[in-house]
Subunit: 364 residues, 4 copies
């Protein structure tokens, strides 16, 4: 199938590697198929109103391999099937999919690549079901897409967190402190698990394993008995203490106006200090985990996925998502791909290896 | 003057380079003077009760050049002239300087190097006035000691913050966000100023320049008009908004128990969001700024200061602090050294260069 | 099967992650099986003469996760089945396997883990065939072991090379130069391929694909026509030009004494300059690729392999090598594991993705 | 003096920070003086024939702070007073200064900033003496300009070398090897000295201190006696052995065609191996030292120099070079600035501190 006009958009939160995908798709589509490539700005949002597109040429994608973020911009609110508007503090939702589809048709694309997580790919699938030639390219910093062994951006994020933990190790040792580093991961604890394990964290707290403050306190005290007067805790932002709601309420007094509380890292520091374990300090890396130059692994995964996606389009396999399974690139049905989420298995080999080498998960 | 027994302790907060000082002092004292070197554990605290010391040999200091923290440990509470004890939540203060001096005399040191900031050096000076052969070695991550052009640990901290800002640049651009990075610096804004300037921050907030939230909002809006839909703010932890107390009270409702609020970074995010400037996210690097391998500059400054301090001791110049002034190492009286603090000059060349290249300081 | 005494040695060239394996094996064997752990110094060499071993305790392996190299030391010459001695410039070879086996028996180990590449594992297999309880742990910086999807140290090496290429990009662009970076890889081109692809190299030369200087010259000239006045070449040390022998002889005049020529990087620079393509400069990273802190991926692979190897020993599965296959850890027969080498497939997906995005391999 | 049209060019070898200077000059000239800014391409070369200039706007310099190299390009051959042409292998030199001056006049610049080393600034001075409004901005990666305490690019280069030495430390220790790292520095040994000292090199060889292979061999053997079976040597490319010419001739047999020998690093490896000190391996970082994102220090020095240079132009102080002296920015006469070169003082404090902490310089 000839590829003459190729479109691509990036949706959801950004992460390292998006630009590398844009570069690979553009280079491969131009050199292998003589196609022209159109970038849609700001995710699906760019398909509404007057569609905003930019022509992607070889010159445009020069130097993108090492550059974080996405030159196309991204958007979280732009689902055309449930488009949100905020007016005077009130949120209204409208179905603008017809408008988006009409605009998409006017662009006369042979394929539209949607690069994003489960949200973006689910919207992509709806467009596909309405007749649009969609191919998904998976992206989640949390690495929790079930259909692919790993998503780009994840390796970069993990290495950034490990670098931070490496630094905290020396200062924790010097000062006999409890150091807490809060990582991304609302539902899946992969970043906290892999970064904590690689950084040599003593305690790792993830959404998949219920934990108690008291268990952490005991682990800190056990370390002190062995002469180790410091402890490193790596906690995923979505990790919730068992019975934690009570704790939270205790901290937030009744108030007319909501208090902007710190995240779980700050709150855990407060809880632990009540148990007299010494000074506790939190580091919140936040969006630092999303930015900067991707690791070699992420860059290459992006290049491979991008080139493979173009060939997949040339074969006419729409309604699919490209993915890495057992070291091989495949195209899997979008409808399947968005069904499953991949969480850390509390009884799996990763958690066992962590426990085998001394990591406490706050349970038990 | 012969150097037979050399002592050294590290006090106050740790920072990159302390171990490199220990290495240089140990190597120089051994190879140049045939001395034995004793490390005192946990700052001045190690001089109380049964003094805790460790023999520093060439083998002991191997590999310390690149290692963050201090193998001697440090302590914040250990001023023997005003030693704090917490019992049942009540803090009592006692003068234990006689005990410390007696222990110090028993160690029969020809010199005691105290590596620390103004607090540590002030205590060192009191010991000197009581007859102890003290030489100070300056250390503050904030770079605010008046007697020396620069202190080690500072260059490392600045580079760590710049790396974080570099990462935030790409994600801020992709998402049209306001990104806030909170740095160390309670009284002096040097880290925020130099890291913000090097990272290309659009707004820099430091304790030395009063700022207003509204001015920042205007800067964000002015950028939007130029098509720049993102803003990077670099704020020192000690930077306080003009009239900020009111803001803080507004956020903290009456409550029996104190709420553990986030730092200025989190609070600024909350304040800005009320002005409808879009999503605001804070990154709090915390102690990550203190840890890890020092930069080349810091390592070399430590090596030079350490070797110079040993020679200063051999010349019998006690009651001094070694320092870097106009690219030359000197020994300056401790009594003088602790008098002056070096703040950012709001009308100085650094701030002007920042304004010349587009930085907003939140004033005006 | 009870594990009471566990031995471990590291053989062959070092790479990032060896220490992390030592840490994982030690921690897991102690905490899960109450075993004592013995490290054998300097590879198989440590089993000869008076065996040199060191007790590995929890304290000994503290901080090893992030530390490059191997605290046990390694050796290239120590194959006891063909032990080489150099005397007066003459190399003699002796079979000292009986001696090594006797020493090994005296150590009363329940298992000996041999961490190494195909050479080390082949020797391990010979010991196993003579009755020793051997389990192999794969390590090659070149990633060319057929039995495992990836070996530790490789990801770290690739990222180091990419960092260097990233730096060369800016200087090449500023000066209209040809920049050559020579990587490790005598037989397999994986490092050059993956680092070159991730770094955005324009030309990648590997042992698996025959290349000609003239083809590279044409690629450089083609780039110039597009206004790109610089070219980055990434070449594996083992990449040989088609008909290259002639070239080499041309450069090395008859001489009584062998000239210490530069590697392929330097020589390629010389060859290219004859074609008037402008200045050519080579960077030879050498052993920098082996050292320093491992990446997060490598650290975790080491921890997982180490813990898994201990459990494999407890199950009594000797004569095996632990490996990663399709994201799962397995134990595969040593005899099988050492049979296959994994080279880059010139027609495979990786090379195709590279060509799709514009990489020239010097062929055609 | 009003600044309406500002010109800038970058000459000589590139280094980290050039783009940051372009950004600062552009931003300051536009925002403070409402000037337009013209970049001259490829150094003085861009003033010949049809002058090649590019308009530098705020948008053009966006993101340049962290980007290595120079977007203007640079050239080594472009001295218009002695312009070199190569035809059929023959080099001819012509004075094309009248042409350049005429072109320069046509550009109607109020000032031309020349960013470069002593060569570039010397040419700049000649133009100034012929009436052009020149201001120099110092740049040498070698840090050997006498008129300024430090030049940008140097701190970045040193940190890159230190990172490499850090990596070599672990692999050298694991393998009992001699590791040699060759750094830039033809006449001045600052990079080798500061990087070697910061990296913990055991031997540092610089052009300013004559050294002998035998002395290095003795240092290696002395280390072995202390149980340290590895040695790190840091050698500046311009460091020549005492009586070294003989050594070189010995290695290069008579030959019709010149052999492309390795640099001093490779040759030193060969010389040392003759003394039976074990395996010697060289790492040649080459242009990696020039590239990549500048350190925080370099970025800020560039920003400050750039802004200060614009103000200097506005004050009409032409024929000067801006410089950093004792932490203050000044403008010093170009004629003076190019007179002095700053070498390492073999008897100075830096070398003494290195010797005090155990570094061997190969002398004695």
């Amino acid at each position: 199938m000839p590829l003459r006009r190729v479109g691509i958009l990036t949706g959801g939160g950004d992460c390292a590697g998006l630009n590398a995908v844009l570069r690979a798709v553009t280079r491969c589509a131009i050199s292998r198929y003589g196609a022209t490539v159109l970038g849609v700005a700001d995710g699906f949002e760019g398909l509404l109103d007057e569609p905003r597109t930019v022509s992607l040429t070889s010159a445009m994608v020069k130097g993108l391999l090492a550059r974080g973020g996405t030159i196309l911009g991204s958007s979280n609110k732009g689902d055309p099937f449930a488009y949100k508007t905020v007016e005077n503090g009130r949120v209204t939702t409208a179905d603008r999919s017809d408008e988006a589809l009409a605009n998409l048709r006017d662009l006369e694309l042979d394929v539209l690549f949607v690069v994003g997580g489960d949200g973006t790919n689910a919207v992509g699938n709806k467009f596909f079901l309405r007749g649009a030639p969609i191919i998904g390219i998976p992206k989640t910093i949390d690495n929790d897409l079930g259909a692919t062994d790993i998503t780009f951006g994840f390796d970069s994020a993990v290495n950034i967190v490990v670098e931070a933990i490496d630094r905290l190790q020396t200062t924790a040792q010097s000062h006999h402190r409890v150091m807490i580093v809060e990582t991304m991961g609302r539902n899946a604890g992969w970043i906290a698990l892999q970064a904590g394990l690689a950084g040599g964290a003593d305690v790792i707290l993830i959404p998949e394993i219920p934990w108690r403050v008291e268990t952490i306190v005991r682990a800190i005290q056990a370390r002190k008995k062995l002469g180790r007067n410091f402890t490193i805790v790596c906690v995923a932002e979505g990790a919730k203490p068992d019975g934690g709601e009570a704790c939270v309420r205790e901290l937030v007094p009744d108030s007319a106006e909501p208090v902007r509380l710190g995240g779980i890292g700050d709150r855990l520091a407060g809880w632990l200090e009540r148990y007299d374990v010494g000074e506790c300090r939190a580091t919140v890396l936040g969006h630092v985990q999303r930015g900067g130059a991707p690791t070699a692994f992420d860059r290459n995964l992006c290049t491979r996925l991008g080139a493979f996606a173009v060939h997949t389009a040339a074969r006419g396999e729409f309604g699919t998502m490209v993915a890495l399974q057992n070291n091989r690139l495949i195209a899997t049905p979008l409808a399947e791909a968005i069904k499953q989420i991949r969480l850390v298995d509390p009884a799996g080999e990763w958690v066992r290896a962590a426990r085998d080498t001394g990591v406490c998960f706050g349970d038990g």
